[in-house]
Amino acid sequence: MGWFTALWGGFSSFFSIWQVCILQISPFFLAYLVGIRLIDDRKRGEWQELLSCAAYAIGFSVIYALLSSRGIDAGRVLLSHINGLRIAAGVVIGLISLHLIFGHSLSINGRLLRSIVYGGCALLLGLSFAVIYSPCVTPTYAKILQIGIDPQTAKQGAFLAWIYGLGMALSFSFVGMLLVLSLRYLSEKYRSVLRNICGAFLGVLALMNITGVMVYYKAFFLGFLV
């Protein structure tokens, strides 16, 4: 399998029947991206959101690749601790949700500092989302997992899984950036309300993962769509 097939497999899954499975994380990423756009409402370009998309893509794809590669020791270790990691991921997502709700009151001055804070948050969000995600195995992903099982081809499997994860993150970012651009037409009076809703949305995801209620979201909400 070539890297482009893996990239396309990940990217196209967002726009296909597999979106049902991706709904575990996709609406929450969109909420995050919209939320950070509305945190800092001064007139500026979209560089902050683009940076967040890139950092998210790196965080998500790296952990996704490791979890997809049983033939690699690090992947096995992560898989064996996945339950504990899900709780830790919930805590991280909870802190990010608080940042969305209260972050506007903290003045982060300077482009470099803002880049570090927003990039760092998005990187952590990507890492966390890869941990809480339980993927459905698409035909392309099945081939990648099969390559990743064998220790002799595990590195190639991890590379393809990383590309597949990047493809997924790319599709999230594509839709997310369209949403961010559409916020230009949102009235001033609704912006803080929407930002708080986005923060609360992430807060719910955090609580679901910390308490184990995420199972009910998957079973009832995703199950309703299947």
Binding site: G9, F15, L67, C136, P139, T140, V215, K218
Partner: protein, 178 residues
């Protein structure tokens, strides 16, 4: 005019590509040459009552299928799994479904909807899933009579793949006996 036509063609290709990405029935047939490793023992409470303890089935091949009611490919592979179960149960091959990231009610609903007849239970703590190192669903493990993982398949199974893997386990079991 040329640009509009070009854009329309590009859009058509994109839509077709996306559509086929969602509808492909191709499944992996990569044979793993990974050395056999022992399957972790587990005791699963079955939804219809009773227990399934893996070590109680030593001497016979066991197929362990991890699924979730909300997982799209899990529903698609269910008829295949059940058909192969019906074909091989007289050979003493045991099948067990392990529902993960799910609720009991939804797992039962899934079993009824797809007419699954082999035993299944809910791994509510995720311990069995973690012991096997399952990340994506569905994932199917083929465990031989010695309790070793003969093959594992991530993604929807096909009848041909299942028959090949089960026959392989049955043949190796027969070789050991002779």
């Amino acid at each position: 005019m040329f640009r509009v036509r070009y854009m329309n063609k590009l859009l058509l290709v994109l839509v077709l590509a996306l559509f086929t990405a969602g509808c492909s029935e191709e499944t992996s047939r990569v044979a793993s040459d990974t050395p056999l490793e022992p399957a972790p023992d587990f005791n699963l409470t079955l939804l219809e009552g009773g227990d399934f303890k893996l070590s109680n089935h030593r001497g016979k091949p066991v197929v362990v299928n991890f699924f979730a009611s909300w997982c799209v490919p899990c529903g698609a592979e269910s008829p295949v799994l059940d058909q192969v179960y019906q074909d091989y149960k007289s050979d003493g091959v045991a099948f067990v479904g392990v529902a993960v990231n799910d609720t009991e009610a939804k797992a039962l609903e899934f079993i009824e909807r797809y007419g699954i007849t082999f035993p299944a239970g809910l791994d509510d703590t995720g311990e069995i899933k973690d012991a096997f190192g399952v990340y994506g669903m569905p994932t199917t493990y083929f465990i031989d009579g010695n309790g070793m993982i003969s093959y594992l398949h991530a993604g929807g199974v096909t009848e041909r793949l299942m028959e090949h893997e089960i026959d392989k386990m049955l043949d190796s079991g027969a070789d050991h006996e002779t």
